[in-house]
Amino acid sequence: MGSDVALAFDLLAFTSVMVLIVLGLGVIASMMGIFNFAHGEFVLLGAYTVYLFESIGLSGWVGILAAPFVLALVGLVLERLIIRRFYATPIIAMLGTYAIGLAIRETVRALLGGHYVSIAEPLPGAFTVFGLDFSIWRTVIVVTTACVIVGTWLSLSRTSLGLQVRGALENPNLARACGISTRRLYAFTFAFGAALAGLAGALIVPLYQLSADIGTRFLVQAFLSVMLGGVGTFEGPVLGAAAVGGLTAGLPWVVIPVLADPLVFVIALVIVKLRPQGFITQGRF
């Protein structure tokens, strides 16, 4: 019983990380129809921000709070300079964002000197409920993810900005005709997605050591999650991430670990093949 709860908590924590990463990717893919190959590097930059703040002597908390804003700025600049040229050609966008990601990743690798850097958890230790230990930091991640999901959903469904976003998603031309600046909206969306990636990176870096590949290890899973859930919806990528995250964390308990890893991909691909529109059908944000 106790180990089951612990396992469920581990599943939940990993799934939260996946959701956090996928949410930003899904928002960008839904809005502009491009799959951002540099998303893993945005996660990496979020983690690197925490490292930078710690190395100049500030507390890790400052870095974690700053990471989303730093990444929003990075996202905004990249969108204005580069990404907006790719909206018409999603395949070329993959190549372009891949190139951006490669440049960022290798720059950070050179800066880190190829080393792995451990970042301590800002809240170390565990708390005990009914005789079971729960890691505090993983709990923080789960709670933060829940807050981000609720906050994003509320701002999409309750605010006027959310209405504009939904309108632009439904019919960009009509939205423009109604006086909504889709240009600004796209820039905002991209910055928001990048900020979410930065937050994810800042939160997960204590769990995994900081290395240049911290973001890319989740990237393929994240893409599959978005496709699995359905592009153009809010709930879709979240559900997809929950499914892929759950499978990734759960399968090694069922089959031998060597097979579990590729099996997740195969299962996800087959589902996407059978149901290309995703779990949630497009059109309802």
Binding site: P90, I92, L102, A103, P257, D261, K273, P276
Partner: protein, 352 residues
């Protein structure tokens, strides 16, 4: 009567005047590039002589060119964005390494066809899954399908003890022709060159054939071609499978030449390197990807000696790719080759 009078010699003269006035077709660049490439490739062993490291580099370029051509067939010819071309390359490399290790067999007449068969079979499987089916797949799905396949295979192999796990398979048995064993050097260079020439000619024939014409139409407007009754996805699947065959051949040669094959040789890393080769050189020109391969590999060889640049070489590569995608999507050869020549012409030539 008047009309008959007009269709006489006077009309012929007018027609001839029109013929003269018509802009002469732009000078063809690609054949010249092809001849130069052939001459350079043939002359290289003579020039390099006993610089064995450079001969090895040149052989490597020839082998990786097969991977580049394999990607070119997918992207440049049929518009399939494949982020997993290295998968077929790597799996074939592993297959012949295992045949060498477990069956102690490496005769050229059997292992190279085997590698091609492995590449063909695997890519046909992928094509059947990704491209064929009742619902037309989106290009995004195909791109992610190939990427995922490549990534999953890399992860599987790097955890699988039987195939050497993360260390890969080293000391691959040497390729044999009768009693002769191919080691690194001029003989292997000529072998790789001969095979690349065959591959290139086959791809060139494919591009200029009637199938190539269908593919050219497909690149222009896939939907319209489908309305005309062509089973577009089937054509794509055929070309994709053929590209897999070429990648398989390249992978086997790579494995024999390096004496090593590892999980990284089938992952997205090498797959995207193939994309860089192709786009840098100029996709759609067929010789462009070979040019791109030579350029990238030579530069990275030269720069690896310069300590200051070695670490940022991948950054430069990324920025170059970004610049190409943004400003010069036709690659370096695209600067010299007219759009008409890039697409190719299929009608009967004038003046024949």
């Amino acid at each position: 009567m008047l009309t008959e009078g007009e269709s006489g010699p006077a009309a012929d003269a007018a027609a001839q005047a029109r013929m003269v006035k018509r802009r002469p077709p732009a000078r063809r660049v690609l054949p010249n590039v092809e001849w130069v490439a052939l001459a350079v490739a043939l002359g290289l062993p003579l020039v390099l002589g006993d610089r064995t490291d450079l001969v090895t580099l040149a052989t490597n370029i020839l082998i990786l060119s097969m991977l580049a051509i394999s990607f070119e067939l997918c992207w440049g010819l049929s518009g399939i964005m494949s982020f997993g071309q290295a998968l077929f390359f790597g799996v074939a490399g592993y297959a012949i390494a295992l045949v060498g290790r477990d069956l102690d067999f490496s005769d050229i007449w059997a292992v190279l066809p085997l590698a091609m068969l492995v590449g063909l079979g695997l890519s046909a499987l992928f094509a059947a899954f990704l491209l064929l089916g009742r619902k037309t797949p989106t290009p995004i799905f195909v791109a992610f399908g190939t990427l995922t396949g490549s990534y999953a295979a890399e992860r599987l192999v790097s955890g699988w003890q039987y195939v050497g796990a993360g260390n890969g398979l080293s000391s691959v048995k040497l390729l044999k022709l009768g009693q002769y064993e191919f080691v690194e050097g001029d003989a292997f260079y000529l072998l790789a060159f001969g095979l690349l020439l065959l591959v290139y000619l086959a791809a060139r024939f494919l591009k200029r054939s009637q199938l190539g014409l269908v593919l050219a139409g497909m690149r222009q407007n896939e939907e319209r071609l489908a309305f005309l009754g062509y089973r577009v996805q089937l054509f794509k699947a055929v070309v994709f499978s053929f590209a897999g065959l070429i990648a398989g051949l390249g992978g086997a040669l790579y494995s024999y030449h390096q004496g090593f094959i590892g999980p990284g040789n089938m992952g997205p890393g090498l797959s995207t390197t193939a994309v860089v080769y192709c786009l840098l050189g100029g996709s759609g020109t067929l010789i462009g990807p070979i040019f791109g391969t030579a350029l990238v590999e030579t530069l990275s060889y030269v720069l690896s000696d310069v300590a200051a640049i070695r670490h940022i070489w991948p950054v430069i590569l990324g920025l170059v790719l970004l610049a190409i995608v943004m400003f010069q999507p036709r690659g370096i050869l695209g600067l010299f080759v007219s759009e008409r020549e890039r697409i190719g012409s299929y009608g009967r030539r004038q003046g024949r």
